[in-house]
Subunit: 314 residues, 2 copies
């Protein structure tokens, strides 16, 4: 078989402790050429098993949207720290029920699935505020943001790593941070005017990371569970994967803020904090593969290939 | 909308000629920090429209496998130059009809779809040669191979670029080339013994490029058309995306070598030669985005984000 990458429970050979302490404070570029001995890196399974309860965090229900699709539930964690205006508007749109019965209008293979609020009932119209044009939030100030650097360089960003559970690029010169367009990133489509977007439409990355969209669209969040309900949707046959007729469009049954759900109806998962030591060890384990299957342990990892560990609440 | 990346017909603003002549002969690293003025780069649409007939090539029918799935046809171009023994064995397995009615045994979201030859009829057994253990063909000698370097560095390989229509990594020290695990790459699964694989099983990359598999598995080809028939398959619910019961497994109706099909039944497509000047211009156009939509023209591209242009035979 092909060795797996996502499962915390991947069967792996036992190895010994690593020098996670190597990482903090070192710039990505500085570590890029430092070979790591595979024999000294803990396996991914060992790292996850050893993480302390304090290193895991729950989802903030006010920053979580549940999209209920025919195939199942798509859980999106929002990033108000990256795009406060868009996230605030999105919460209002969700709470207004406008994503209930909303159509997926586009499904382009190896690129994005895109959906938008439900059309108004016959004879009615959507509230005007739904299409309020928001100014771009393509980047945010790096000031005060936690940052766990990736120990490898990035093709697209001067610095790459993780902030508050999201893969990010950073530019030291401008002091800016942006969420990278990795698989599962959720952002706001727009026309040519960068300052006229509305989260009455959303897209999620369903293919190889289209990093050329970084700093060109406002990212509002990331799918933390249920990506398969977006990626298995039929593909649109029109230009850019748009569906050619309304009848072809898959529907989103409903969307709810986590905080509007009964706690028992929320997903019971925890996410490994990206500012934890165990996460840094996880990156190293993902980077240098100690499993017996690997002939070539790699010793490198690209930003969007780091899967952020999720576990069921113990 | 989100700007598209695949369509040759993407609407873009007109721009002027570029210095494609900058590229040949320069190592990837040397160009990595050379900014390209967006105003001087032709758009992707302009490049494809201007490519000469000699820059396009057809598919060699003896190096093309057609997998017929319920959803449609998956067309795989083989790379005998990279894995001669595995490709030869795969041709024999296809010609023996062993992929007719073959089950997809694994579909792991954001990773791979994996299939294997059909089980023998009741009371029968599969020919022994089907499971002949082949020695690894993880890399091949770079000697004599054409190579079009990518003008950006790669996280995983010392050099990255294109050889004979495939995205490749190269290591100058060992003089080796290998096909990269990009979206659509088709390779041979194996157990822990690197020299005991058989193309009686295959996998295709259906998610973000799992480059840690590079040099760890024998790549036999690449899907050039029909990826959506693999990516929209239901996901397996077992460990690593394996289907838990035989009934859940999608079936491949048949597999045929192109050369065993009536020419009228082959796909009528051409692929832009990766050793052509127009392909180099295409890479630059994909790298620096001149379309009005882009606020940030990017100016970088990662190996697996270069889509190799395909057109209908004119």
């Amino acid at each position: 078989m092909v060795a797996g990458t996502t499962a915390a429970g991947t069967t792996v050979g036992a190895r010994h402790a690593l020098a996670a302490a190597l990482l903090p404070g070192l710039a990505a570029a500085a570590l890029a050429s430092v070979p790591v001995d595979a024999q000294t890196v803990r396996s991914a399974a060992e790292v996850v098993a050893a993480a302390t309860d304090e290193e895991w965090r729950g989802l903030d229900p006010d920053n979580t949207v549940y999209f209920e699709m025919e195939g199942g539930r798509v859980v999106v964690e929002l990033a108000p720290w990256a795009a406060p205006r868009h996230v605030e508007a999105l919460r209002a749109i969700v709470r207004g029920g406008h994503y209930d019965g909303a159509p997926v209008v586009r499904s382009q293979d190896n690129y994005v699935a895109q959906w938008r609020v439900a059309p108004p009932a016959e004879g009615a119209s959507l509230p005007g505020w739904l299409s309020d044009a928001l100014a771009a939030e393509f980047t945010t100030s790096s000031g005060g943001l936690p940052f766990t650097p990736l120990p490898d360089p990035d093709v697209y960003a001067a610095e790459a790593g993780f902030t508050r559970g999201f893969p990010v690029g950073r530019e030291p010169g401008s002091g800016t941070t942006w969420i990278a367009h990795c698989y599962g990133t959720v952002a706001v489509p727009r026309g040519n005017d960068p300052d006229a977007a509305s989260p009455a439409g959303l897209y999620a990355v369903t293919g190889h990371a289209p990093r050329h969209l970084d700093r060109n669209a406002t990212v509002v969040g990331r799918v933390v569970q249920g990506m398969e309900h977006l990626t298995t949707l039929p593909r649109g046959t029109g230009t850019l994967g748009f569906f050619e007729t309304p009848e072809e469009r898959p529907l989103i049954r409903s969307a709810r803020m986590g905080s509007d759900l009964d706690p028992a109806d929320r997903v019971a998962v925890e996410i490994l904090r990206t500012d934890s030591e165990s996460f840094q060890a996880w990156v190293l384990a993902s980077r240098t593969r100690t499993e017996e299957w690997f002939v070539h342990p790699t010793g490198r990892i690209e930003l969007c290939n780091v899967r952020i560990p999720v576990r069921a609440v113990p």
